[in-house]
């Protein structure tokens, strides 16, 4: 990585861009009033997370994150938004229960997020001496088809059951007009 003089700056800038995308997407997804903007925030957050996975030495999961979250989950939620009408009516601000609820939610999430960050900042994370595999796509494939083959089969069965269940649930109650 030292062949190009500014590569350090470029890589750090890319990391900052991906981290900012993740945080901004999460904030948009949690705070925006309209649901469609919140789905776009989730997509932004997923793109940022894919970049972070790339920095964590896992290009395979970066690809999967884009494929599953941006390509499947967000598109499915957009379809559901088109079928239902999720517009939130403006909350009657100023009522004490609304203020209490909002303040409580903010307090709880800030407390848990802050304490998790504090735990992460504690010293004592030590890297292992040796690595069993290199974590490449080849190692993942070998482990999936040897050690974790039962879990692999089970999750394929679970996806099949989920597809059938979704079809049945969404179909029942539909009247032929």
């Amino acid at each position: 990585m030292n062949a190009f003089p500014a590569s350090h700056v470029i890589v750090s800038g890319l990391f900052a861009v991906f981290a900012a995308l993740t945080v901004a997407g999460a904030l948009i997804a949690a705070l925006s009033v309209r649901i469609i903007r919140s789905v776009c925030g989730l997509a932004l957050c997923s793109v940022g997370l894919a970049g972070l996975y790339y920095f964590l030495h896992s290009p395979f999961l970066a690809l999967m994150e884009i494929l599953v979250y941006v390509g499947a989950v967000c598109v499915t939620i957009v379809f559901a938004i088109m079928l239902a009408e999720p517009e939130e009516s403006p909350r009657d601000e100023g009522r004490p229960t609304t203020l209490w609820w909002g303040g409580g939610a903010l307090l709880i999430s800030a407390a848990i997020g802050g304490s998790l960050s504090w735990l992460g900042l504690q010293p004592g994370w030590s890297a292992p001496a040796t690595r069993a595999t290199d974590g490449s796509v080849r190692a993942i494939g070998v482990a999936l088809l040897s050690t974790y083959s039962l879990a692999f089969e089970l999750i394929s069965l679970l996806l099949l059951v989920a597809i059938l269940g979704a079809l049945v649930i969404a179909r029942s109650g539909r009247t032929r007009t």
């Binding site: 981290a19 964590l56 999961l61 690595r131 974590g135 679970l158």
Partner: protein, 108 residues
């Protein structure tokens, strides 16, 4: 160049995951429609996946295991979204609304 790179430290990823979790928890408590709560739940899933990937990259003796676990979480999240969205559509068909306050027939 003497300082270690920021993206080679586990702390920054852990803080990002904590932020994601806090945003997801806040959305889950504050949103009033079922789809909004589902999106907040996805944020919490993402926080868990980022945490797994961080420990997998920096601390695990076998870096393939965490990636496989995160892959399974992604599969479970996709299945959960499919079933939850079909339930939401069925609820909308019955109640003409997906606000969590109005879906209260089982409330007693």
């Amino acid at each position: 160049m003497t300082a270690p790179n920021l993206y080679e430290q586990p702390q920054i990823y852990l803080i990002l995951a904590a932020l994601l979790f806090a945003a997801g928890l806040y959305g889950l408590l504050w949103r009033r429609t079922l789809i909004g709560m589902l999106i907040a739940g996805e944020l919490i899933f993402s926080a868990a996946m980022l945490n797994f990937m961080t420990f997998n990259r920096f601390l695990a003796p076998d870096p393939a295991v965490g990636q496989i676990f995160v892959l399974f979480i992604m599969g479970l999240a996709a299945a959960e979204v499919a079933v939850a969205l079909s339930i939401i559509i069925a609820v909308y068909r019955n109640y003409r609304s997906i606000k969590s306050k109005e879906v209260s027939r089982l409330n007693g």
